[in-house]
Symmetry: D2
Subunit: 374 residues, 4 copies
Amino acid sequence: MRTSKPRLRIGLIGTGFMGKAHVFGFAAAQRVFDLPFELELHTVADRDEELAAAAARTLGFARSSGDWRSLVADPEIDLIDITAPNAFHHEMALAAIASGKHVYCEKPLAPTAAEAREMADAAAAAKVRTQVGFNYLCNPMLGLAREMIRAGEIGTVRSYRGIHAEDYMADAEGPFTFRHALAGGGALADIGSHALATAEFLLGPIERVMGDCITVIGSRPDGRGGRREVEVDDASRAFLRFANGASGSIEASWIATGRKMQHDFEVYGTRGALLFTQERLNELHFYSTADATGRHGFRRIEAGPVHEPYGRFCVAPGHQLGFNDLKAIEVARFVEAVAGLRPEPFDFRAGQRIQLLVETIQASAREGRWHVVA
Amino acid sequence: MRTSKPRLRIGLIGTGFMGKAHVFGFAAAQRVFDLPFELELHTVADRDEELAAAAARTLGFARSSGDWRSLVADPEIDLIDITAPNAFHHEMALAAIASGKHVYCEKPLAPTAAEAREMADAAAAAKVRTQVGFNYLCNPMLGLAREMIRAGEIGTVRSYRGIHAEDYMADAEGPFTFRHALAGGGALADIGSHALATAEFLLGPIERVMGDCITVIGSRPDGRGGRREVEVDDASRAFLRFANGASGSIEASWIATGRKMQHDFEVYGTRGALLFTQERLNELHFYSTADATGRHGFRRIEAGPVHEPYGRFCVAPGHQLGFNDLKAIEVARFVEAVAGLRPEPFDFRAGQRIQLLVETIQASAREGRWHVVA
Amino acid sequence: MRTSKPRLRIGLIGTGFMGKAHVFGFAAAQRVFDLPFELELHTVADRDEELAAAAARTLGFARSSGDWRSLVADPEIDLIDITAPNAFHHEMALAAIASGKHVYCEKPLAPTAAEAREMADAAAAAKVRTQVGFNYLCNPMLGLAREMIRAGEIGTVRSYRGIHAEDYMADAEGPFTFRHALAGGGALADIGSHALATAEFLLGPIERVMGDCITVIGSRPDGRGGRREVEVDDASRAFLRFANGASGSIEASWIATGRKMQHDFEVYGTRGALLFTQERLNELHFYSTADATGRHGFRRIEAGPVHEPYGRFCVAPGHQLGFNDLKAIEVARFVEAVAGLRPEPFDFRAGQRIQLLVETIQASAREGRWHVVA
Amino acid sequence: MRTSKPRLRIGLIGTGFMGKAHVFGFAAAQRVFDLPFELELHTVADRDEELAAAAARTLGFARSSGDWRSLVADPEIDLIDITAPNAFHHEMALAAIASGKHVYCEKPLAPTAAEAREMADAAAAAKVRTQVGFNYLCNPMLGLAREMIRAGEIGTVRSYRGIHAEDYMADAEGPFTFRHALAGGGALADIGSHALATAEFLLGPIERVMGDCITVIGSRPDGRGGRREVEVDDASRAFLRFANGASGSIEASWIATGRKMQHDFEVYGTRGALLFTQERLNELHFYSTADATGRHGFRRIEAGPVHEPYGRFCVAPGHQLGFNDLKAIEVARFVEAVAGLRPEPFDFRAGQRIQLLVETIQASAREGRWHVVA
């Protein structure tokens, strides 16, 4: 691509599924948006040279490395994209920040809020831009929902219900994985984090929580003929109090048999309501008390060019965005944030915030009483 | 009607909307079902002679009375149907039971679990039959759901979510009514009771609860130019633990703008799931892991004659029952219970149970900690 | 019932399922509506005395008869309700009209439009009131749809699509019945008639049609070990031109596997659209171009008291009417028409009209060209 | 990208919205699939040098040209992608074929079936691969539907209903465009073609049709203060007979107010049924008579990795593909066809076929009688 735009040189750590997905995201963002930078896939790193070289060929990177530290230190690279296993996020991100790189890190940012805070503080001190991938929030229909709430189209918000339920851990004979160990986080950290992010995205800060975290499948096959005790929750619930005065709840489950992507919310205000399910991610349902008598009802708003940035992907309404399109939006927004064109709302500070909410809910559940979000 | 069936002579107290609805229920039950009794509308009582006489003419009762006590004492009457204001339920029911009458009482049975227990104990001692109106449970699709759960069609139940949300109190300028005073009960007692009844109907006893009860609209117009403080909750939530090991939650709200009858549940088991909403009361959605690869999905089961007693109302599937048909089923089942043909599952003991759950949730909410259901 | 209202004495012919359903309808209408008459179940007739006597006991008629002619001639009877097999409708109705009775006749009115015209003409000459049972049209949501169309809420109507599909004849091994003989009518006459009635109810007269009538299951078991050739259509379609300039189509099928009650329509106008399915008969979906930018969408209007006469059945919205409630509305409207309080839109003339449409479509299909509705 | 794969050098004609969309498609296909070629964006042509040069920079082509003929003749180019206005398709495609290029052409292939045949014949003679963009058919759920039909999962297919309705021409004051002139084709050619393609994709060849084509908006503003007569249909319907014995219908409308992408079908067989709407393109609804008694219902199958090639885009079910993903699948399949790895089902012959169906329906509508598809 021959443009006069400045280049943004990307170093990717990790070549698994998420690494591939991020590269798709960079490529799609570049094609779909008029980005302030030309993105350059500079170097990819993985745990050995051979793997990294193969990934470079497949994914289109110019160079490869078996040592992520050399990649992080490379002065030619502007942005480090971390898709390595969760356990490495903290170390890698701190190193990248120390080298003055912008950092794009897969969620969860870190296993504890304290570590996440350290990462966010380091980024703030170094004045680099960061991002954690909360791609559901990039859906134009969520943007619309927030815009409608802020504009008062449903009046004063009174109550909220958020759900994130899937069934990928529903099989009790599924093997013990890193996600079932304490550091893995559990259902609340893994997907409840999405429900929490959406709740604060729409309604603002949560002030107090009462949690309930449950391990349903107590042990799983350890792959060596025995079973290993599961250390995390399979399903969690929380009561919420928002700073704006609304009350609400969230629920997270990775054992909700039959559910593949139930990321839902319902928001009720004094003059209307909004309903959404990720199962039909191109729709937002809106009830307004301002409708004429006998004509009230939840209307199914279909995503279209009027709902930015849908029009970047398709000029006609109703054609629908997919999950990967949301990823492209996420990437584009971060690139714009790197250019200083907009703040990045889902930066490390936001990732720290979500981790704090998760831990506060977990602590509340352990103690069986309400906790203030510190 | 000329039959050789024994008569069941009905005395009705109260001639308002619910009184009329009950009379419809008796009439419809008699027409639709092959009841063990011929129902006779014997006497109707209200607070004055004139009102009662007018109601007798309109509703088809042979006699009328301005004194409910005389009605309750009338040896010709077999069954007392109480649709008077809630505050009178306790006294009237106890008097009717003392006279050896079967008693059909609108919900809520009594403002406190203690009073409800007294009523249930009296009925047990007198060996009379009682019923509290939980008509949602009479829906053939709820019967189907329970049958499927018991038969193991969704495997072992792991989690449950129940909701009952409407918006009839959403307007903050709606007047203060008896429902906003402590004895009125609030959203949890008024409609959360339905959510609790459905939860136990499907999954069995709830053992522990953690409640959250919120008054959103603090005061309402008192009808004399001022405002009066609301004493009850507008929205409540509870975490649940069932005796069968499942966890769950319920939510009740009478300020859910846009919702007219969101009595929903979702039940997730090891081998499937069930979804229901009263907004589409003739449908039950069923997911089964036993379906073939690539063919899994929630199937929309439409009510039909195969789902008893739908066939009493209509010989063809898909034609749909309405709310009043559920009332007729409720009445018919009670009449059968009076005849000893079946136990009445929603008797005063059940009403007491629901009141106990409501109070336990309220106490838990006040104290901010889990409570065992005594 | 003791009222000072004049009595309307009913004579019922036929005691099968539809006879029972009509009696439910009379009873429910009397309870739910404030009718201008007190309805009296006077005499029931069936093909022998014993059967009729048993039905009188079960259904609540004072008298019974084994001879429908004596019932029709009885000067004490005001209204004859015909639920006997279709083949008898013509003779019975003409006899009843000749005796000056009002006549309520199950659909189809007659096997041919010519006979239906004879019946309608006779009723007009005798100045008696008549009704054919098109109960789907009694749904408050259909009334709402018509009101909205007439008020211009969707602008000028441009196109229409109507469907009535069920699957009660989908099994090719289902036995040959009277419905499979020419006089039985077939799918178009049996249920397509509903689609046609709804189309004209909403948009007014159909002027031209192009039909397509198909027999899919050529023969069926004759009950004597052989098979008998089916003489009617299993599925039919028609293109339509309405007098108002709109074009449209209807489709009827009784072999639509999986469909139990797909009585649907979609109406598109210059400024909006309406969608309906009988599968969710308490909902009407409304799109308006007048909505704000980015807020357009089909809104799901739920039936409530504001949609007359829903409020007769239930004071709260969203509680839902059932199929039998529609029957009660149908009966009530006819009784009001008998009292001269309103015209009966679904009288014998309307029944004749539908039969004419059916025959015109059938003729068009036979000849493979457009026909004008004579 | 450094691979040892052979290159497929692409020459694009046209740089408007569709040109951009195709480039996205090539890029996405290359990222998502393991294609047999490395795709090279070689040269882009538009009507002047400057425009082409700008597009080359934006879209990532190495070279540009103001003369499509030089591009078509360039021996370095393997595949010509035509997104120029419809009027040029015929000439450009024939020239490309004459130069031995594979050709990817936007739909409609040509304004007449005769021209389309000429193009298909030329491609066959030259043994080059061709494709017309019917991207709806690339949806994994349509592939699933066809697979299920072929495997007999709904038994013998009896009837079909297809719809393609949008509202982009609903405004009568929208300007006259090339689409409103005879060569533009009208609603049937423009989007009814999709409905026809889907019908034959699922059920096989259509043998006979009866058409109904209607111009609702007779004239449109001509942009010079006057109005110009519209020469094409706004809404069309057709009855269908398939070679497999099934009957059916399709409907096309570009004035269906409120509809953005109603590409729907319903297929009814002897043992089940399938329902689909593009409004929820990641779902297929399946009814099977093989389900257990009382458990029948349409099940909502959500797209997942088990439905190829969904897994190329996302490893988890329920995350959803978007419209642009379907375009990527379309491109990938064509590239595989070019490599001889699979036949291309939507080649020029298929485009010719659809045009033939359109013309046969139009002729049938003009003459008001059934036509055999020649």
